[in-house]
């Protein structure tokens, strides 16, 4: 275990104080050439500006200088987990979107629907890029397969891609892909990389045989390929590490999945930011840590939609008073990473952050945007350090040493 986690565990105490992490996905932006400003600079954010004036602020590094993170690692960092120590295999990241609690020992893989000919040779590794709806129909077919000793989850992702999760006693994820990565070859049997994985390989090959039967008369997707096997090693929970009773409010499955990895209770919620605020209000008395996730800042950034991102920022700002009315003890406002609409992609740039609490030592920053935040007192901080800082501000950490 990360040595910092041993420290946290020895210091964390349960108190009635409450922490909220308001995470706007892809929050950070850049000056956009067409607008001469960044999204945060363009947005009217009276409530966030006011909060910033009462807060310690800055720009925080999700993983490290120059690293553009995906949402999985960057959220783990926000929850205090160094993603380089707590690695999530690619197959596992794929299944985080399945609304299912991962358990230690579960094995996951990425799935491609493909087209094979009568001789079983792969002719199209992507089955003509079938639609997601077709992928969902075929996944439902394959979920009917029964293999004794194996619990099987199969969930469509996008187009011809799906995610597989298997659960059972004594599984071992050290397995080679069935995907030969080339057309003109037959799918490979799943092979154990170590002897201990032999039984798991046998179960998966039985599943693949049954899948071939079920898909025989389908077209163009009449077989599946498996790759990127990963076994969940189990993460320490936020409950154990931080003595918290944490809850997740997130409209998108991926973020609920990451939250489950660290032991959060996932609250059912609607798809709008206002739905999420209602969920927060309803469950306010039940938890002492809330991860509140806003997806659409990132979606707009990825679409290169400057004005769309501005609109989402303003919508969040407008709802901030309802969050403050609940009187949390500590509020952290930040993003998992930057998604500048000028780049239409995630980026490596550090992410705006506000840390508010009664004793947070406000700095000279008066506006919530990248340029102003460059002179904030938290500049140079890393995402993994926001969680202990929030814990301290909520008086949930004891003194270290005498």
């Amino acid at each position: 275990m990360d040595s910092r986690f041993e420290l946290y565990r020895s210091l964390a105490v349960r108190t009635p104080s409450k922490i909220v992490f308001l995470v706007m996905d892809g929050l950070g932006g850049l000056v956009h050439p067409d607008f001469g400003r960044s999204e945060l600079e363009a947005a009217r954010l009276p409530n966030l500006d006011a909060l910033a004036r009462e807060s310690a602020t800055g720009l925080s590094l999700p993983i490290g200088h120059g690293i553009t993170p995906g949402s999985g690692p960057s959220h783990l960092a926000l929850f205090g987990y160094d993603p380089l120590s707590y690695e999530v295999g690619r197959g596992l990241l794929s299944v985080l979107g399945i609304d299912l609690e991962l358990r230690t020992g579960d094995v996951a893989a990425r799935v491609n629907f493909c087209t094979v000919d009568d001789a079983g040779i792969i002719r199209d590794r992507r089955a003509g890029r079938i639609a997601t709806t077709e992928c969902a129909r075929l996944c439902a077919l394959l979920r009917e397969i029964r293999i004794p000793g194996l619990e099987i989850q199969l969930q469509p992702e996008m187009d011809y891609r799906a995610a597989l999760l298997i659960r059972g006693a004594g599984l071992d994820g050290r397995l080679s892909d069935s995907d030969p990565q080339r057309e003109g070859f037959a799918p490979l049997p799943v092979s154990p990389k170590v002897e201990e994985a032999t039984a798991t390989a046998d179960l998966l090959n039985a599943f693949l045989g049954a899948a071939r039967e079920r898909l025989r008369n389908e077209s163009p997707a009449n077989m599946i390929l498996l790759r990127g096997f990963a076994q969940h090693q189990g993460f320490p929970s936020m409950r154990d590490t931080f003595a918290l009773d944490p809850a997740c409010i997130a409209a998108y499955p991926m973020y609920r999945g990451v939250s489950r990895l660290v032991g959060m209770k996932v609250l059912a919620t609607g798809s709008t930011i206002e739905d999420e605020v209602k969920t927060l209000e309803q469950h306010w008395g039940e938890h002492d840590f809330f991860f509140f996730h806003v997806k659409k800042t990132d979606s707009a950034g990825e679409d290169g939609n400057f004005e769309g991102k501005v609109a989402v920022l303003e919508a969040v700002d407008a709802l901030l008073p309802r969050l403050r009315a609940l009187q949390p003890d500590v509020i952290v406002v930040t993003g998992d990473h930057s998604t500048p609409s000028a780049l239409s992609a995630h980026s490596w740039h550090p992410v705006p952050v506000i840390l508010w609490g009664r004793h947070c030592q406000p700095d000279s920053v008066t506006e919530f945007h990248e340029r102003a935040l460059q002179s904030g007192s938290l500049c140079g901080i890393h995402h993994v350090d926001l969680m202990p800082l929030a814990m301290a501000n909520a008086f949930k950490f004891l003194k270290y040493g005498a």
Copy 2:
């Protein structure tokens, strides 16, 4: 291997974009009591000031707070190699100045010419501090020695000091010094610290016997002492780690040596800064990473020559437009460490840095000197993080995780 290197290797992609590191040795300075300003404050630097205004800037720590680095470790840090993980033994640092590509398994040592009496007892460990020219003449004599199974390089450094490099099959560098570190004793035989090093010790003792013969009639330097044995373990190359095709433009051998350690191609160049710029222009099409080294900022600093250092800074500034005319995608301007002329020595102070690129997020700094840069957005960065940041800005890193 450093775990960050595994990450870099998994993210790095080859692209046509080009990165230039313009490294002014010993760049950082201090306010000089006789001038009331630092060298950078006194210098007229219109081109560097203009570049700073378009850039992310700050002061970068070469190794860590309070650590005054030599040029070896601080350059490794600039190239992204944590010098505490990628250690270069003292003997190896000495031979980096020999224009010879180090190979994995090579063994190096530091050499002192000394004076022994007729009974073989050391009377002067420094042979009266013989001149460097005399040292060079004696090195040439000793290079004629032939020991079967051993390729021998011997190169004068300064005064009575030289550097030895041996190459051969199955060498082992775990050897004790022949230098007893005191006068009044005979030189020691080189002894193996582990059994595997016995054969290497035998070869070196044969070389020392032959050296004694060759130097018998010389005066005052009639023997050599060896210390600081180190074996080159081989470093991962920048090509493997960063998917780059890197080149070095440096007039001084030591910097060419460090560049070779990390797999750069060393380009032949003249001794002036203008020669180096010409070399850059000539080879611009051939590489995607250029390390451009300016030595004389450091030399002037070491000499306590405030005005000399100012003049070198202005000369570099005047040539900057030619570098920019080549249209690099990313420019990093920095130094390996500080060499304030007020101290006439390397120092621990963080080093001015400019990171320029199309998406670098400029900050509020408008002038390129220590005081102005204290409010730059890169303050608190470490040298090892400049390389990944340059890679990201050149769009040479993929996203980490999904």
